[in-house]
C-alpha cells in the first residue's frame, strides 16, 4: 500500500505544527522520519494513523482518504504511539486478545496470533504479567505486539526505541528490519544511527516543513562538499608551520585544533585536494607529519546544519 501525503497542514492554536508537507511512501519502503523535538514528526504520524484530522491537506493510504475512510485505513495500519500508551491494569494476553478482537480477527485465529506475537516480540517469560508490572523495554515490546497483531500492511512507529537498553535497541532494530522486508514501515526517531541502520529513505522535518528527502548516502554526498583534513605536523614552530601551510594555493582555511599537539583542521577549496601539496611543503621545510585524516561529515553534523538556523 502506498501512502501519499498531500499538503498536510495542522495547527495548534496559532502555531503550525505541520506546514504544507507533501511526500510519498512506496509500498515496502522503510522510511525514517527525522527531526528535532517539536518538528512535527508525531503530528504527521498521528494524522496518518487517523487520530487527528489535519485542517488542510489529505493523506491517502492505498488510495483511501483519511477524511472519508478512516475505518479502512485503521484496519491496515499498525501504530505504536510516542509514549506507548497501554492499559496498565491488564495482563499481556488479555490485552492482546482485546486488540485482536477490536481488529476483527476471527475467534479461532486469535490464540495463534497472540502466541505468534509473544514469540516474535520476545515476551515468553512475561506473558502472564500485568502490563503495569513490566519494565519499559518489555512494555515497548507489548506496544509492538499490539501494532503487529493484525498483520498490517503499514507499520507506523513513533520513536520505537526510546527508553530501551542497547541490547533491546539492537533487537528491536532487527525486528523492524525483518518486518520491513514485507511491509511499509514509517518510523520516527532523533537517533540518526538508528535511522541509518534501518531505513531505506530518510525524511528530515524541521519546523513543520520537510528539509531533506533522500537516502543516507545521498544525504552524505549532498553535505560532503569540500575536502576536510585533520593534520598533525611536528618538527617546527607552530606559527611557521601555519604560515607555510597557508601558502598552499588549494587550501581555503586552516584552523588550529590543538596547539600542544600541533593539530590543524584544513579545508580545501571546492573540487580540489591538498594532500600532496601538504606533504611536499612538509618535506621542503623538514617537518614531519604525525597525523593526516580525512574528516567525513557525520550524519549528525548534516542533521545539525539542516535543522539549526
Amino acid at each position: 500500500m502506498d501512502i501519499v501525503v498531500e499538503h498536510l497542514t495542522k495547527r495548534y492554536g496559532p502555531q503550525k505544527a505541520v506546514d504544507n508537507v507533501s511526500f510519498r511512501v512506496k509500498a515496502g519502503e522503510v522510511l525514517g522520519f527525522l527531526g528535532p523535538n517539536g518538528a512535527g514528526k508525531t503530528t504527521t504520524m498521528k494524522a496518518m494513523a487517523c487520530f487527528i484530522k489535519p485542517e488542510e491537506g489529505d493523506i491517502l493510504v492505498g488510495g483511501y482518504s483519511i477524511h472519508d475512510h478512516p475505518e479502512i485505513i485503521k484496519k491496515n495500519i499498525g501504530y505504536l504511539a510516542e509514549n506507548n500508551p497501554l492499559y496498565q491494569e491488564m495482563n499481556i494476553i488479555d490485552f492482546l486478545e482485546f486488540v485482536a478482537k477490536i481488529h476483527g480477527i476471527p475467534k479461532y485465529l486469535i490464540p495463534e496470533r497472540i502466541l505468534d506475537m509473544i514469540r516474535t516480540c520476545g515476551l515468553e517469560g512475561e506473558k502472564h504479567k500485568l502490563i503495569g508490572e513490566l519494565s519499559k523495554g518489555y512494555q515497548q515490546r507489548v506496544g509492538l505486539a499490539q501494532a503487529l497483531i493484525h498483520d498490517p500492511d503499514i507499520l507506523i512507529l513513533d520513536e520505537p526505541t526510546t527508553g530501551l537498553d542497547p541490547n533491546q535497541i539492537v533487537e528491536i532494530r532487527e525486528l523492524i528490519k525483518r518486518i520491513g522486508k514485507e511491509k511499509t514501515v514509517i518510523l520516527s526517531s532523533h537517533i540518526l544511527a538508528e535511522v541509518e541502520a534501518t531505513c531505506d529513505r530518510i525524511l528530515i522535518i524541521n519546523n513543520g516543513r520537510i528539509v531533506v528527502d533522500g537516502t543516507a548516502a545521498e544525504l552524505r554526498k549532498q553535505a560532503q562538499g569540500n575536502e576536510i583534513l585533520k593534520l598533525g605536523v611536528q618538527g617546527g614552530n607552530i606559527d611557521h608551520i601555519f604560515e607555510s601551510l597557508f601558502e598552499i594555493e588549494t587550501i581555503d582555511s586552516i584552523d588550529i585544533i590543538d596547539v600542544d599537539k600541533q593539530l590543524f583542521e584544513i579545508q580545501s577549496l571546492p573540487n580540489t585536494t591538498s594532500v600532496k601539496s601538504i606533504f611536499d611543503t612538509c618535506v621542503r621545510n623538514n617537518y614531519y607529519i604525525t597525523e593526516l585524516t580525512p574528516t567525513e561529515k557525520k550524519l549528525e553534523d548534516i542533521f545539525r546544519i539542516l535543522t539549526l538556523h
Binding site: 485503521k74 504511539a81 477490536i102
Partner: protein, 239 residues
Amino acid sequence: MKQILHIASRELSTFFDSLTAYVLIVIFLGFSGFFTWIYGADVFFVGQANLNTFFTVAYWSLFIFIPALTMRSIAGELKAGTLELLLTKPVSDWQLIFGKFLSTLLLIAIALAPTVIYYFTLWAIGPVDHSAILLGYVGLLLMSMVYISIGLLASCIASNPIIASLAALSIGIFFHIIFDVLASNFVGLIGSFFSYMSLSTHFESISRGVVDTKDLIYFFSIVFFCLFTSKMILSNRNL
C-alpha cells in the same frame, strides 16, 4: 456493534479488576438493604408491600455513584494516552462513546440485579403491585442512563477525572433537585417548564406505574443530547 461490545466488556472487566465494581455493589446493597428493611421508613414501618423506600434510596445513591464511575471513562483514557491507542484501532468515535455508556449501564444493572430478592421477599409478605415495581426498575435504569450520559459528557469536557466527576455531579444536581425546587417556586409556564425539566417528576410518574411517552422522550432526549455532544467534543479533539 461488535466493537461496542468489545469495548464495553473490557471496560466492565476493568471495573471488576480494579475493585470499583465490588465496592459499588457492596455499598449500594448495604445502603439500600439497610434503609429498605431495617431503619427509618422501612417496609415494616410503612406496612405496605411496596418498594418505594428502596427506589428512593437507589434514586439518591445512584445519583452520587454514577459520576464516580463515569469520571474516568474518557478523561482517564486521555490522561493515560490510551485514547490514542483505542482510536487508532478500527473504532469510531460513536462506538467508543456507546461502549463506555454501555459498560457503566451494565454495571448498574449488575448492582441492581441482587435487589430482585427484595421483590420476591415482599411478594411472600403481602400483595404486591407487580407493574409498579417492574416500572420502578425501568425508571432507575432510565435515570441511570441520563446520569451516565451526563457523566460521559463531563468526562469529555474535563481532562481531569476528579473535575469530570464534580462537573457531572453539578450538572446532575440541576436535574435531581434544583429544577424541582424552582418548579415549586414558580407558577404558570415557567413552573411547568421547570417541572418538566426535573428528573424526579418523570421518575416518580414512571415508578408509580404509569408510562407516558412524554417521560420517555424526556429521558432519551437528554441521553441523546449528552452522547451526541460528547461525540462532537471527541471528534474535534486537537491532541
